[in-house]
Each structure stands twice: as C-alpha cells, then as structure tokens.
Subunit: 96 residues, 4 copies
C-alpha cells in the first residue's frame, strides 16, 4: 500500500477507536439505550467502510498487482486462485 | 438495566475497544491485509452482539417494562407507539 | 396484524419475488456480473426492510400487545421474557 | 463463467425464488411472525452466499482474467483500476 493510502487507513482506525471510547463512556454514564445503539450502528458502518477500503487496496496491490512492488510477502507465495479463494473467505465473514 | 447486565455490557465494550486497538497496531505494523480484515470482521460481529444485547435490555426495561423501576427517564415521556417506532428506526440503521 | 399492515407486507413480498425472478432472468441471459450483483444487493435490502416491518408489527401485536386482540396463538402461550428472548434470537440471525 | 459455475449459480437463484415463494405463502396463511422472520433471515443468507459466489467468479473471469477468454464484453472496455473501483462500489452496496 502506498503511504497516502496507509495514512488514510490509519486515520480511519483512530476515528473508530474514538467512537468505541465514546460508546464506553456512554455506557458508564448510563445513557439512554437508543442513543448508545445509534453510536454502535455508526461504529459498525465505519468498520465496514474501513473493510471495503482495505479490501480494495488488497485487490489492487496483492491480487491484481501480483508480481509488482506493493505486494505483501504473504501474497507472494500464493497463486491467483489461492488469493481469490482467500478474498472469498473474508467476504463470507463480513456477510455471514 | 440491573447491575449485572450493565457489567456484562461494559465488559463487552472494553473487549471491543481492545479489538480496535489491536487493529490499529496491525495497521501500524503493515500486517497482511487479509489478517487485518479478519480482525475487522471479528470486531464488527462483537459490535452486533453488543447491539443485540442492548436492544434486548431496552425492550425489557423501557418498552415492555414501561412504568416499572428500570425505565430510562427519556422513555418515560414516550408512548408505546413512539417506543416501537424508535426501535424500528434503530433496526433500520443496523440493517441498512 | 390489522388488514392494512398485512396488505402492505404481502405487497412487499410480491415485489421481492419479482426482484428474484429478475435476477433469475439476468443469470440465464448471462448478464454482466456487476449488474446482477446490484440486483442481489437491492433484493437483500428489500428483505431487510420486510424483516424490520414484520418485527415492528410483532412487537406491537404480540410482545407489547400481549393479551390484546391482534395477538398470535403461538405468542399467547409465552411469557414476556420468552417473547423478548425469541426476538433476541431472531435479531441474532439477521445480524450474524 | 464456465458452464459448471453458471449451473451452480442458476440453481442457487432458483432455490432463493423457492424460499421467497415460501415466505409469500406463510404471509398469506397468517403464520406466526417469528417463523416468517426466520425464513426471511434464511433467504437473506442465501442471497449473500449467491453474491459472494458471483463476486468471486467476477474477480476470476473479469478482473484477474482480464484479456482471457471468459471475460464479459462490458469488462473488456474497462481498465483494471475501473474494475477495482466497480467492485468497491458493489461491496459498499452489500455492506451499507
């Protein structure tokens, strides 16, 4: 992944950590359940967006970019068929 | 919510905060995308489980328990129809 | 469920049946995968909306409406705790 | 897509059509809401599985298989970057 993408991913994760810290405080303060549920739904959407971001980067650098510079060590030892099978397993986890 | 349920909810939120901190470290360390994605999927499932827990408690204490002790201040001013409409909106956020 | 709600639910289900029939035709015609995927995502959202509609009606007629007219036979034999536990299980299926 | 994969996809879609027809009958017969909801959750999971199947095939034939036999006409006119962007949009629809 190029530095700009990595930076964007890191800032997304930090924002999610902030959202979860917010949920923790709301629970400690005994806030109204529905308000907490809305924050949980927001954190979940942010995790989904992060997942989509990372998966696209993975498709670019490791699956399509096979053999090119940006590729991960782990992906290097895998065939394209193995990489697609791996993406399929990950998708099933997100959509299960 | 009774103290035992509140404790369980708090411990779930703390575990999720730990999972997100783990994702942050994995991203910093440039770990393999698919490993990060699996952690994201796990945190997402944990958030869903927390949402279901909280929503059940909300149905028990505020919607069904209308008029009883455990009810939230905010729920007191609402009719049952308003409470069901609110639950419906929250569900739509989770399933949208 | 009152007649108006039942009518609305039936019309939603018929629309989903139409969407799935459309997906079947697209697959038979060898249409572009991404177009089929968009239709699948649309049918999935429609199923979610139907689920939320039915769950709200269930909360109104069987869980909150315990003892009242609209209640289902099956719900009559259950306590409120059992009804909330059942809703919780259903939510877990939708969000699993 | 090869003939064997296409056959598998068609049989999945037909099974989903059967599930939705079952939901239609359950609604007509005024069956217990929670039973209908369980069927809706099952149809939704089947749609997700179909989506994952199709997306994997799309990655194999059109994104990775760019230039090879199995590729769709529509994919031929697109660059790899455009194909990844399209996959990203589809994922966002499934996870939104």
């Amino acid at each position: 992944m190029d530095e700009q993408s990595a930076k964007k991913v890191r800032s997304r994760v930090r924002r999610i950590a902030g959202q979860v810290a917010g949920i923790e405080r709301m629970v400690e303060d005994g806030r109204y359940c529905v308000d907490v549920l809305n924050q949980i739904a927001a954190a979940r959407s942010a995790l989904d967006a992060l997942g989509i971001e990372l998966l696209s980067k993975h498709l670019e650098s490791c699956v399509l970019g096979k053999g090119a510079r940006g590729e991960h060590e782990r992906a290097k030892e895998m065939t394209r068929e193995e990489l697609v099978a791996e993406v399929r397993t990950v998708l099933a986890r997100f959509l299960k």
